[in-house]
């Protein structure tokens, strides 16, 4: 799912990349930038935390030239009086004006590096409002991709910003090495809010190559049980095999068995003998065996046999 979000087929609106001190998310952000530039989409970067040179390291000169960098890094508080982008200038309207100045007919992907810097200098409500206005789409801005350091703010602030996002990508470090072929950069948990209202979550192991293309190494989200080993189970085991005595039947024996009628089966003869009234009204024929006692003191002598 991460690849679809990077390619832009999912997650329009606002994409938030959450990282922490243990695992850096800027390389993933550059993966987003690289993918957008390769699709010939104009990319505008509001850079506050790293310089333009550092951001463009690793991107070839062709893609790098299609990137418009609004420099909020050199003099954000106007201490040097250099007149570049300052933190007070930040508002949705000002950003739109800056983007419109570039005369690009296509809609723009806006990258914010980073939201944490803005949140430390402007109130969170103003940042959320501006993000909402920018990501609502329409004029000029197709989608907004922002980097947020989740461990620098209170949980409530992080939660509010992520609540507005269409897609939240959280990077966490991976302990040990999961696969031998390529060293993973980390584990990414993606949360995508689709237009239909359905929310999907996925967990993948990713790595960012030298040219900032993102590669998914392994999908960790669906923890399937391995399929049952079906090699030996389809054939029913024959219990009569491998015995020292014979449990099998020959043809004659099988036929004799089938012809045998069981003692309590209700056959035609028995039915007719019971249904037809017999003369004599049911006589009991008793023949005493040799071992039978004919005891005179038997209390049952009222039996008239």
């Amino acid at each position: 799912m991460l690849v679809e979000i990077i390619q832009g087929s999912e997650g329009g609106g606002l994409v938030v990349i959450k990282d922490s001190a243990e695992c850096d998310g800027r390389s993933l952000l550059k993966g987003f930038i690289k993918a957008a530039v390769l699709r010939n989409e104009p990319v505008h970067v509001l850079g506050f935390e790293v310089s333009e040179d550092e951001l463009c390291t690793g991107l070839d000169s062709g893609p790098a030239s299609r990137l418009v960098f609004h420099d909020g890094y050199s003099d954000p508080l106007q201490w040097l009086g250099q007149g570049k982008l300052s933190v007070q200038d930040y508002s949705a309207q000002n950003m739109r004006n800056r983007i419109s100045q570039s005369d690009d007919p296509k809609v723009v992907t806006l990258v914010i590096d980073s939201l944490s810097w803005l949140l430390l200098h402007t109130p969170p409500t103003a940042v959320c409002q501006s993000l909402q206005e920018l990501s609502r789409g329409g004029l000029k801005v197709k989608r907004v991709v922002a980097l947020l350091h989740s461990d620098l703010h209170e949980q409530g602030v992080v939660g509010s910003v992520c609540h507005m996002a269409t897609a939240v990508v959280t990077v966490t470090p991976v302990s040990g090495s999961v696969s031998a072929e390529a060293e993973p950069n980390g584990i990414v948990r993606t949360l995508l809010r689709r237009k239909t209202g359905r929310v999907s979550r996925e967990e993948e192991c990713y790595s960012v190559r030298e040219d900032f293309s993102v590669q998914i190494l392994r999908d960790l989200s669906t923890r399937k049980q391995p399929a049952p080993d079906s090699r030996g189970e389809t054939k029913q085991d024959d219990p009569a095999a491998n015995l020292t005595f014979n449990l099998r039947l020959s043809e004659d024996e099988r036929r004799a068995r089938e012809n045998l009628s069981l003692p309590f089966t209700f056959s035609e003869e028995k039915k007719s003998s019971l249904l037809q009234p017999r003369s004599g009204g049911g006589r009991i024929l008793y023949e005493p065996d040799a071992s039978d006692d004919f005891d005179q003191e038997d209390p049952d002598d009222d039996l008239d046999i």
Binding site: S27, E49, T57, Y73, L152, N185
Partner: protein
């Protein structure tokens, strides 16, 4: 400078990376020995060094430097070293009889109603930016701050400290391609000092190399004074990659520090 640490960091006074921001943090022990290492390292490398010594006097640093083989008074005289003595300077600012001084003074934030470190930054910028001849004479500039936590104690908000570090990084690392080393204390972990934690985490995000020094969890030991975790941040200098982490234990001796892998202290083996 400590030769073993140079081997671990894979640097030497002749060959070191430029544009780096090195963060030293300590908890339950004192990590100042690393600051002394970096001061002597960069002086030996022939760089122009600006030290903001806010915690100790200049004579303390020069005494330690002498044991490590550099002479700080000589470097100051030559113009290689610029040293801001925080203790003496702050006393001058606080005991000044006249009107509240201009905040353009380096330590003017001590008396201003809104503590802003702009004056300190301008001092750093003026001392490290140099004319053409100086650039030819000395190597890239280096800023060493010892330490940032004392600024928090003096009433500066973490946001103002972070802004100061941001501007220093812009000037020293990006524009002049120099290096920056700073020390942050992380004392009260259990008490949760939020300002100090916010400062530490923000600087960790911005740094390219973090050296975290901790006392042993089991308590004081005569032969092992603590352990040090080195973390090279993936994603620093714009390149992708994972963080690389190495862990060592150390013992501080009279003229140096010895580093060894965990469990291989000479007292144990």
């Amino acid at each position: 400078m400590f030769p073993e640490l140079n081997n671990i960091l894979n640097t030497s006074p002749d060959k070191f990376e430029q544009g780096q921001f090195i963060l030293v943090s300590d908890s339950k022990t004192d990590g100042t020995f690393l600051i002394h290492h970096f001061i002597s390292f960069y002086l030996k490398a022939g760089c122009r060094v600006c030290v903001l010594g806010l915690v100790q006097s200049f004579s303390h640093y020069s005494a330690v430097g002498q044991r490590l083989g550099v002479s700080l008074p000589q470097a100051r005289e030559k113009g290689q070293l610029v040293f801001l003595e925080g203790l003496r300077g702050s006393l001058d600012v606080l005991l000044q009889d006249g009107p509240i001084p201009d905040t353009a003074q380096p330590l003017g934030f001590l008396r201003s109603p809104v503590p802003e470190l702009r004056g300190l930054f301008e001092f750093v910028q003026s001392s490290l930016s140099s004319t053409e001849e100086e650039v030819a004479a000395w190597g890239p500039p280096v800023l060493i701050v010892d330490d940032l936590s004392v600024l928090l104690s003096l009433g500066v908000s973490p946001g103002a400290v972070l802004d100061f570090m941001h501007y220093c990084r812009v000037a020293v690392c990006s524009r002049m391609q120099g290096n920056m080393v700073t020390l942050v204390h992380n004392e009260e972990e259990e008490l949760g000092d939020e300002d100090s934690e916010l400062l530490l985490r923000s600087l960790t995000h911005q740094s390219s190399l973090t050296l975290q020094v901790q006392g042993l969890a089991t308590g004081y030991c005569r032969d092992i004074h603590g352990q040090m975790e080195l973390r090279w941040r993936g994603g620093s200098q714009g390149r992708p990659g994972r963080d690389q982490v190495k862990l060592f234990q150390y013992k501080v001796q009279d003229k140096g520090v010895s580093f060894f892998a965990r469990g291989t202290s000479s007292a144990v083996l």
